[in-house]
């Protein structure tokens, strides 16, 4: 046992492969960035649907949120990678295939758009009606009101919640290795297949992710604390 323990914390094997693992981590960051953009824009759209005056739009928005908030991200990933291209192919009558990276961005982006939509909606509903009425009285268009009055306040209010969601999204990017996006976990399992030494590599991967996410989440926590005091003052 002590031998195994020593082996799993002997991270020299992990260090030896640092360049390929580093490349994997960059893929994690790329998937994260692209998926975050998708999640933010789709989430904003869904939130606007949910608070729309027209009932059908509200129904669509609510369906979107309930569907993606209740979906496990792994099954969505598999579904987007293996089913969605066939469905699109049936419609445009041509063979379609998604690059794993594209599938990963779509799946994670849409799953997290459900959570972001709720954050946006909560922020929008907290804005006093008087602000919107004042904007209209000045002759601003609805779009201008959204950009100049609503969104600046919403962003300020939802920032702490959004940081938490971003961290969850970053954690979720580890599963993209399962559809062969060459991220850190994927490269770790490739190296393990060659070296047959799972102990140091899995331990190293777990510690790497822990350190990154711990740093991110403690920064986010400290920042949110200050931010709350600032916007309350």
């Amino acid at each position: 046992m002590s031998n195994a323990l020593k082996q799993s914390f002997d991270l020299s094997a992990f260090w030896e492969y640092r360049s390929i693992l580093w490349q994997g981590l960059i893929f994690n960051a790329l998937v994260f960035l692209c998926a975050a953009c998708v999640a933010l824009s789709v989430g904003l759209g869904a939130a606007l649907f949910r608070i729309n005056r027209f009932l059908p739009a509200r129904v669509v928005g609510t369906l979107h949120v309930e569907l993606f908030r209740n979906a496990p991200d792994y099954i969505m990933l598999v579904w987007v990678h293996f089913v969605l291209p066939i469905l699109i192919g049936l419609v445009i009558r041509r063979r379609v295939e998604f690059h794993p990276f594209v599938s990963a961005v779509i799946a994670l982006g849409f799953v997290y758009s459900g959570y972001f939509a709720e954050a946006f909606r909560a922020g929008m509903q907290a804005i006093p009606q008087g602000n919107l009425d004042a904007g209209r009285a000045f002759g601003m268009s609805e779009r201008l009101i959204l950009w100049r009055i609503t969104l600046p306040q919403v962003v300020r209010r939802m920032l702490p919640e959004a940081l938490n969601l971003f961290i969850s999204l970053f954690k979720a990017t580890t599963i993209v290795s399962l559809i062969a996006v060459p991220d850190l976990m994927y490269n770790v399992s490739m190296v393990i297949q060659q070296e047959m030494r799972p102990l140091p590599l899995y331990t190293g991967a777990a510690l790497t992710y822990f350190l990154i996410i711990f740093a991110l989440s403690s920064t986010a926590r400290a920042f949110s604390e200050r931010w709350r005091q600032k916007i309350q003052a």
Binding site: N70, P72, I86, T174, I175
Partner: protein, 223 residues
């Protein structure tokens, strides 16, 4: 429609066998998460020598992605600690440990939310610290954290799809096996996704109902 009947309805036994394994893994992980979270939380608050151990464990469980933790528990632990010996155990253990980290923080917030005066009143009524915890503090914590506990169960169910990666025959892995046999992913994967979404939706709906009930009966601002 023929495809749905052939690929999904006629395979319902396989899919339900997988669903049963999913429920089993999630139920065991849920119990582990509650007990583990309670222990971590109490150690952090009341057992001074173990305080830092508990904090490190809580942070480690919370800040490591579930997939990475699952692989780590499944492949590294058997060599280092001599258990878990099978992947089913590794699956619920990893799921339970991760959620225990989150629940420990939920319980701590609940305990710290009980006004100090109540504890002092219990002491002056002659209750021992254990009795105070048992009769005054914990019932309130159970009420205030009930919604978060249910929410954590949905997280467990969502993460449990990943145990298919370590060959536990859950719903996800059964449906992938069917896809590999028939080479027709559309109906099978869509049905599986639908089943998961419906299941998680049902749990969170139950959670909302429980929260409303608690609020009505006990007038608590459960959120």
């Amino acid at each position: 429609m023929g495809n749905w009947e052939r690929l999904v309805w006629n395979q319902r036994d396989v899919l339900f066998a997988g669903f049963a394994v999913t429920i089993e893994v999630c139920a065991i992980a849920f119990v582990v998460a509650i007990l583990g979270g309670l222990m971590l939380c109490l150690a952090r608050l009341y057992v001074a020598p173990l305080r830092w151990v508990a904090i490190v464990l809580i942070e480690f469980f919370r800040d490591t992605p579930i997939f990475v933790q699952l692989m780590w528990v499944a492949y590294v632990w058997p060599e280092v600690f001599g258990f878990p010996n099978d992947f089913f155990t590794a699956g619920w253990l990893a799921l339970g440990l991760q959620s225990s980290g989150y629940l420990a923080e939920t319980f701590r917030a609940g305990i710290e939310g009980v006004p100090r005066g109540q504890r002092e009143a219990a002491f002056s009524a002659g209750m021992s610290p254990v009795q105070t915890l048992q009769r005054v503090v914990m019932p309130q914590v159970a009420l205030s954290s009930a919604p978060s506990i249910v929410n954590q169960f949905t997280v467990i169910v969502k993460s449990s799809t990943l145990v298919s990666v370590i060959t536990v025959p859950d719903l996800m892995s059964q449906s992938q096996k069917l896809v590999n046999v028939w080479y027709e992913p559309i109906e099978i994967l869509t049905a599986t996704a639908g089943l998961y979404i419906a299941f998680v939706f049902l749990i969170s709906l139950t959670g909302k109902l429980i929260a409303d009930r608690l609020r009505q009966r006990f007038g608590l601002a459960a959120s």
